[in-house]
Structure formats: structure tokens, C-alpha cells
Symmetry: C2
Subunit: 253 residues, 2 copies
């Protein structure tokens, strides 16, 4: 077993920064469960692992595997408790099929900033069978290691696109566009279709006015009892989950 | 303006540790919005703030206020970006009224370990009008600063109790006890009552077997489409939110 080279450590740790991820078109993930999920979908260019992991993954191409000691794995890891494998993947290049979007339920994220929130939202989308998430360019990078880890593998089943939301919305004629607003209709009582776009807004500022003008169906998640003084808002990942649950409930019988 | 004394800094920073919080019966919170919310409910024993905060809070008792410079506030803060005020509160001493619990919807947490998850669950409980949360003694401490900050003030409206869950459950005769299990009934189709106990399990292990045997109504949040390969589970705060939303939907019309 050769020691892990300084250049390899440098490559992996450089991928904690967006600039390097964009330039190299790479990202990394850690831990056997997450890496196994991502190996199903993404092209792996380097897999740094201890003998435990390698012995239980005989089918992985030998030319990308680098067996290391636990001490060396630590040097390549961004986690407090490294877990047997760190893998570098090529970023996918998804093409957005707008005609297809109109026939599905799709999430649109208007500048989600917290990595944990984005990761949790991707997991929610996966649970509720949402194939595509359209993110504003200001939304936190999905290949940020904190987001990748928080998706718990859901990243391998949900396609994330970064684009100009207003340019995308203007092309969506006759598509129901949903957003949650204080003056929206009670989500529990609304007829919700199986297809459409659900917009979720920024943690502090909600849906921006430029994007909000395309919303043609305003919804509201009522608190309980409605007269009571309560938190001002729900966390955005929580609101996304309740909203998606309501859409799927209508057809999940 | 006197400089902040070393002893005061030492007191506040010692409250990042559970041992000291328990011994002194104190906890701390930061930021004007959160502190304002907590001042409504908890007894404040020390408020370290910049002149900005003090000038806009004339009614706060002068004997507990310590005006400091921004530099000194940083020394007392556990946050990367300190926000005008750090306040020390006495921990409340709630009495649990079991008869009352039977007439309400109550959450029970079986060893939630992540501070962010507990904070988010308290916020969800507040939104859905749940007054009491019963936590196993192994659940993360609610006065952990990460939990306090994540509650966004909901901590001032929801009572958190730590107790032996099995001892509590054995006393709850004729109370519907709900839990989510893979073999549970579709939550969207179940008749859900306005009162009862909802048990949420640990992030990795779910509901423990000792607690699980008291569950008399098993529920399941279906993924979509149900045949599809998806994430193995939802995050516990997300599952709590969807479950509480379903209970409140039945009576929120």
C-alpha cells in the first residue's frame, strides 16, 4: 500500500471550493452508503478507500481505486469521522427537457442558501418522485460537500439544474405555477393537479418579486389553531415537504 | 462602558456545556429576535448587549443589562457573526400534567440526537399548536445552544420535558399512541383524532423496541410512486412535519 500523494490530497481538498469544482468539473462524496448510491449514477474518477471498503466492492474498476490506510483517508476527508471511502465524481451534464417538465411535478428553488436545507429538499424530492429541481443561479451549489452529504444519496436520483428562473418561467405557458404566500389559499382544501411547478423561496426573503409574478396559484400552509400566535414561518425544507406531501396525497391512494 | 469581565465571559461560554447548564440551571441565547421571544417566557438573569439593542429595549430591567462594545460581545458569543445581544436565562421547571396530555396532541421523541433536528421539530410543534414535547433522557439537550438557536423562538411557546418514556407510556391508558413504521397504514387514508401521542424515533434506529410496544396505531408516509426505488427514509424533522400536518389537516378547515 503506497501512501496517499500530496497531489491527490490537494485535489480532493480543493473540491471543497466551488471555483475548483467548476474548473475541474468534479465533486466528491464520502461514506460507503452515499458513495455506493452515487456510483450507480455518476462517473467516478477516483476512489480512495480502506481495504474494508475495497474487499466488499470487488466489481469497482481497479484503475480508479487507491487503497489507503485509515490515517491517509483522514487526510483526504472533510468529515470529523471519516468512513472508509472518499470518491471523486464527474459532475453530470443534464439537459432540461421543458416539454417533459410540463408533464411532471417539478420543484423550483428561488435562492436557497443553506446547504443542509438544499440537501434535505433533494431527499424530500426523491421521496415524492420529483425528478427535476430547477434552481436559481444564486442557490447554494449542489456539489458543495455539505449538500452532497445531506442528500444521503438522493442526489443520484434527482436531477438538479441551475438556470435563470424568470427566463424559464416565461416559456412555461399553461403550466400551473404554485408558490406559498401568507395570502394564499388553504393548501389542505385546494384541488392540486399531478403536474406543475412548485416554487420555494429564500430562507429569509421568500419568493423574489421577479419570480413571484409568474405564480398563478397561491397556497398557504395553515398553522393551528389559526388564531394562535406562533412562529412566523416554517423552515423552507419543512414547507417543501408538507407541500409535496399534499400534492402526492391527492393521487397516492 | 466597562469592559466585559473575564468571569462573565467564562460563565457564558461555560453554558455551551450540558454539565454547567445543569449545575447552574441556566442557558443562553443570541440575537435580537430570538432573545425578544425568550424574554416573553423565561426569566433572564443577564443580558449582554450593544447600545443598539439596549436603546430599542428601554423596558428591560437595568440591573440585568450589561452594555458592551461589539468587540466584547464577540467574546461572549458562540456564533460566527454575533448579533447585538447574548442573554442568559433560567431554565424553566415545567410540571407535566398527564391528564391534560390525554386531551391534547403531544409529540414524544425517542432519542433524537441532532441539535438541528430537535430545534426544527420544536418549530414544527409550535406551528401546529403542540404544547408539549416529551423527550427520552437520551435526546439531545434542548438548552444546547445549537438547539436554542434552531428553534427560532419557538422554544418560548412549546414545553419540553425529559422523562422515562416507557414509565410515561404505561400510565397512558386509552390514549391513542401513534408511530411511523414501514408496515404502518397509509397516513393519508387513516382517520386521525385531534388528541393522542405521536412518537418519532432516533435518526438512525427509529423507535426503540421498548417504546415501540406501546404504539397502538402504526402509520406510514407513502413515497411516490410507491413502486419506485427511493431514499430509504425521510429525515426525522421532515417526517414529524408531514405527520403533524396530517393530524391538523383533519380539523383545520
Amino acid at each position: 500500500m503506497e501512501p496517499l500523494s500530496k497531489n491527490t490530497i490537494k485535489l480532493i481538498t480543493s473540491l471543497t471550493r466551488k471555483k475548483e469544482r467548476d474548473e475541474l468539473n468534479l465533486f466528491f462524496a464520502e461514506g460507503p452508503k452515499l458513495v455506493d448510491d452515487l456510483l450507480n449514477t455518476f462517473s467516478c474518477s477516483l476512489l480512495v478507500a480502506t481495504s474494508d471498503y475495497i474487499d466488499s466492492h470487488k466489481s469497482i474498476r481497479a484503475d480508479i481505486v487507491k487503497e489507503v490506510s485509515k490515517e491517509d483517508l483522514k487526510k483526504a476527508s472533510a468529515l470529523c469521522a471519516p468512513q472508509s471511502v472518499v470518491a471523486v465524481f464527474r459532475k453530470p451534464n443534464y439537459q432540461l427537457d421543458c416539454a417533459n417538465i410540463a408533464n411532471q411535478l417539478t420543484l423550483m428553488l428561488d435562492t436557497i442558501q443553506d446547504p443542509g436545507n438544499l440537501g434535505t429538499i433533494i431527499r424530500v424530492a426523491d421521496w415524492f418522485g420529483i425528478e427535476n429541481i430547477l434552481c436559481s443561479k444564486e442557490t447554494v451549489d449542489v456539489y458543495n460537500p455539505k449538500v452532497v452529504q445531506a442528500t444521503m444519496g438522493a442526489l443520484s436520483r434527482v436531477k438538479i439544474h441551475y438556470l435563470d428562473l424568470e427566463e424559464t418561467l416565461i416559456k412555461m405557458k399553461n403550466v400551473p405555477i404554485f408558490g406559498t404566500f401568507l395570502e394564499g389559499n388553504n393548501i389542505y382544501e385546494e384541488a392540486l393537479p399531478p403536474t406543475g411547478v412548485i416554487i420555494m423561496g429564500n430562507e429569509g426573503n421568500g419568493i423574489s418579486s421577479g419570480v413571484g409574478k409568474y405564480v398563478n396559484r397561491k397556497l398557504y400552509i395553515p398553522n393551528f389553531p389559526q388564531s394562535r400566535d406562533t412562529s412566523e414561518s416554517l423552515n423552507v425544507a419543512i414547507a417543501t415537504a408538507i407541500t409535496c406531501s399534499e400534492f402526492r396525497r391527492r393521487i397516492n391512494k
